[in-house]
Amino acid sequence: MNIYLIVFIIYFAIMIISSIAGAKKVETMGDFTSGGGNMGLILGIGTSVATWLSVASVMGVPGNIYSRGVAAVFGWIAGWFLGTAIMPLIAHRVRRPAVPTRTFPEFIHVRYDPFERKSKIQIFVAVIELVGYFVFSFIQVQGFGIVLSTISGLNYNLCCVLFLVVLVFTSFGGFQSVARTDTVNAILILIGVIAGMVTVLHLTGGFSAIVDNFMTTTAPVVEGGEPLVAGVLGSPWGTFGFSAIMSTFLANSIGATVAPHWIARFMAPKNAKTAALQMFWVLIVLIPVFVPLVVIGMGGKMLMPSLPVGVTSDYMFPQLIVRFLNPVLGALALTAICAAAVSTANSMLLHCSTSLIYDIKRVIQDKVPSAEEDAKTTKQLRYCVLILGVLAVLGAIAKLSLLAAGFTYIYGAFGSTFFWVTWLGLFTKRMNKPAAWAAMISGLVSYLIITAGKISVFGIPTFFVTAGISLIFCLIFMFATKKPPVEAYESFTSDKVSESTLAVVRAIRKDA
């Protein structure tokens, strides 16, 4: 048995132990969906760090730097860091209510439809979330399958199925389980990428040599391809061009701040300060993870000037592991990639499951709240994770998109759809239901048209265009229709709220 498979088995064992520890903490449906709104700082940092570190970051970012230059540092890394930097503002508001909501669609329900039991706006948001996170999930499975099959020589499809086993174990215990395994994964990712960086620096002769090569190389990305223009990899916009890289930057920064899985991360901490502080620490902890990824991406160009035919840039890091890292360091780097895939996919699957069962089925059925009903829903959530996991594996086998680019499309769609409903919903009292509908539909439709049609609007970044269209519709409807009731915004804009607001939130949560 090769060392990579041994490492995978050890990794699998660690995941099972931490999953079981997390699953034991689940006593209520709230524990399963959002950690019961009682999560401490360390777990909050661990789960948030691991959520940022997906295969799109651990594999996609070095791959993009390798193939398209340091501009990828701007589009992805600086974008994600700016997104994290802004998040404490939202985290504070989302976790401010004494009785917090449990999911993003439920937050939208409270904020825009407080007196409606079967809220259409909650169901609409849940459907968007379900589709987006399902795509996210199979991108992660795909990343994992690529890595394990490349390194171990196992069949790609079999690797995806192995991933399913880990995935189901880690998400079966709900948010508590995901948070614990995420924290372990974050530590493993840090160790793995540092191992990769040390090896690359050793083999290339240091960072100066890497930079010199990066600035002068003309080697094509793929063997036999068109040679690069000397210096293009070191230019500010790389081979992307200004508009494309700026769109990526905005989608990854501002767009990410309203991604539903981040809003859900802000509901889990025990108080608003913990929610904000966890994002501050995430900003600091991510630095020693991303510096090695930059070195790996740039150094990879020196060690492997071109990739073999048929290999995309997403494969660059795994190729580097196979060809240049000694087995022990390679195994650590492999663990980092596995951990990145697991940590993101399990939380995405959890979101898919909560969207379908908690935000769609539970709202449509509108049964009388009871402890039995909550227990039944928790059980259904677990089965849903399993079924969606199987479907995600089938999606991954279809290999639909490049890793980092796939993420950007989803972040872009979430950003265009949810930007104004989240920001204006949290920071203004005037934002109301008609404006929320108008903002979401116009943002989503314009994003789909522009992206699918590859339309360039005077070279303006896509996110500016779609968010701009969304804002225009939002403002027209906001001021043309009546103000929302106080129960819609009070808990997010005031520290002390009325009894009627509390009663509305409890009714929407269907507290038993």
Partner: protein
């Protein structure tokens, strides 16, 4: 090699520090334990102060 991407990255971290301090100061000003006010900007557990 262009430093613009790296400067943007560093600036993002600086922006994050300022934003966190703004939010934490606001929570401290409220004095509410429920929100996590502890009397210190970088602690968040009122029961452990």
């Amino acid at each position: 090699m262009s430093l613009i991407p790296f400067i943007a990255w560093a600036l993002s971290v600086v922006v994050g520090i300022f934003i966190y301090i703004y939010v934490a100061a606001k929570i401290e000003k409220s004095g509410l334990k429920r929100l996590g006010a502890t009397g210190h900007l970088f602690t968040c557990d009122p029961d452990k102060k």
